[in-house]
């Protein structure tokens, strides 16, 4: 006797994201870096053509990666392979699904393709992760079908301040909604511009219905553990690893710090002898037009 098999369900999409909790997802630009990431203990890799730090310095339009590069990475690692599409670029998303990517990041790190609309993520079997700076933005993305949320941070800066701002904002707003009287929820939903059902879910459960990761500016084991102690579920590290002096050692140290994020002795030990961290940029020196976190709404 056998039963009906359903694929691409909300349960398997959000469930996959749940299995990444407590893990580190690393940006890689080729097969060699992907192998270093897997060897360091990454739970997934994000395949992209240029890390955010290079997108920032080189400029130009940043797009979905070359399928050949993505396939090259899929061939060498067994961990999930994620890739980015531009905000609103639903054909890039279709292409990534056709390439059998495990997770799609509709990312502000790439140049947006649509200034008003994001991808309708319900149309895909492959789950999506989207960035958010505040709770209402996270709820809008979830309503569009995102199975995972991450902070936007300010990618490619090696500066964790924006990720902290976004994490505190989302988690703080969740706490506030929890203590909001039920009769005020509809009015909250109206003011927030967020779907009522999701506002009600957060009020009742005190959390998002999907996992919430840190991303954007994480460069050290302490940065990663900071985001975990603030209450996020896991960590994306972009430029922080492969723009540092010794990527293999730093990648492993960040994985180890996240697995024991409440243990300062361990974090001290794994932070020792890592070589140079990426240089980093102060956010106030970045012109507003070049701030990636302001892309999407």
């Amino acid at each position: 006797m056998s039963f009906v098999r359903d694929d691409g369900t909300w349960k398997v999409k959000t469930g996959h994201a749940r299995m990444l909790k407590g893990g580190v997802i690393m940006d890689v630009i080729n097969a060699e870096q992907a192998m270093i990431a897997q060897e360091a203990g990454a739970v997934a890799v994000m395949a992209l053509e240029r890390v955010p730090a290079d997108i920032r310095t080189q400029g130009g339009v940043a797009r979905m990666s070359d399928p050949e590069m993505i396939k090259g990475i899929q061939e060498v690692v067994t961990i999930p392979v994620m890739a980015k599409c531009r905000i609103g670029h639903f054909v890039e998303a279709q292409v990534l699904q056709a390439l059998d990517i495990d997770f799609i990041d509709e990312s502000e790190v790439l140049t947006p393709a649509d200034e008003a609309n994001h991808v309708n993520k319900w149309n895909y079997k492959v789950p999506f992760v989207c960035g958010a700076t505040v709770l209402e933005e996270a709820l809008r993305r979830i309503a569009e079908g995102a199975a995972m949320i991450r902070t936007k941070g300010e990618a490619g800066t090696g500066n964790v301040v924006e990720a902290v701002r976004h994490a505190r904002s989302v988690l703080g707003e969740i706490r506030r909604l929890q203590s909001t009287p039920f009769e005020e929820l509809m009015s909250m939903a109206k003011v927030m511009g967020a779907p009522y059902e999701l506002v009600k879910y957060v009020h009742e459960n005190g959390k998002l219905p999907v996992v919430n990761f840190a991303a954007g500016g994480i460069a050290t084991p302490s940065d990663a553990a900071l985001m975990m102690q603030l209450g996020l579920d896991g960590v994306f590290v972009g430029s922080g690893i492969f723009k540092s002096g010794n990527p293999a050692i730093r990648a492993k140290a960040i994985v180890e710090a996240v697995s024991q994020f409440n243990n300062p002795e361990v974090i001290a030990r794994v932070s020792t002898g890592l070589g140079e961290a990426m240089v980093g940029i102060n956010i106030s020196t970045i012109p507003e037009s070049e701030r990636m976190a302001d892309r999407g709404w």
């Binding site: 349960k11 996959h16 299995m19 990444l20 999930p80 495990d102 180890e256």
Partner: protein, 196 residues
Amino acid sequence: MKPHIGVLALQGGVAEHMDMLDTVGCTTVGVRCPSDLRGIKGLVMPGGESTALIKLLIRWDLVSPIRELAGAGIPIWGTCAGSVLLSSEISEKSHRINQPSLELAPVRAERNSFGRQAASFQEDIIISGLDKPFPGVFIRAPLLFPLSDSAEVICSVSEGAVFVRCGNIWLCSFHPELTDDTRVHRMFIEEAVIGS
């Protein structure tokens, strides 16, 4: 007294298992170092990424203590990646791999056996000992190939075995902790933990 159960808490679906175990009347502890194993009556190894998990098990000196626990007859249950970690052999559908494991059950786990994430699925499954079908949630799931008669198949889908018991070691390739159905957790506690 409530049974005290450890949940390996290095990475993966930890909170989901703890919530389920709490619902079926257990106390739980997240296991991150060997001293966390003290006094537990059972251990759950949750889903996550098995390549990351085995590295962390080795790094935080948990391999020998868990093997000793298994040798002393403490029940250990691995779900998805957790079942891969318990298997004596690990293979992969489309890659050649050389991945260490705890080698506690005579089973070959074939990782990502159904394919990548787009092939993850839900299907009701028949589990021996349960009167009604169980909601199976399979996420980049492995298949389990028994390598000895001591490995008893409790549940299969059309491709092969997805739930195998080898004495006190239980392996299932799906995720009961992602459902609202507590029957498999209850079965582990009643049959393996209390019954042993």
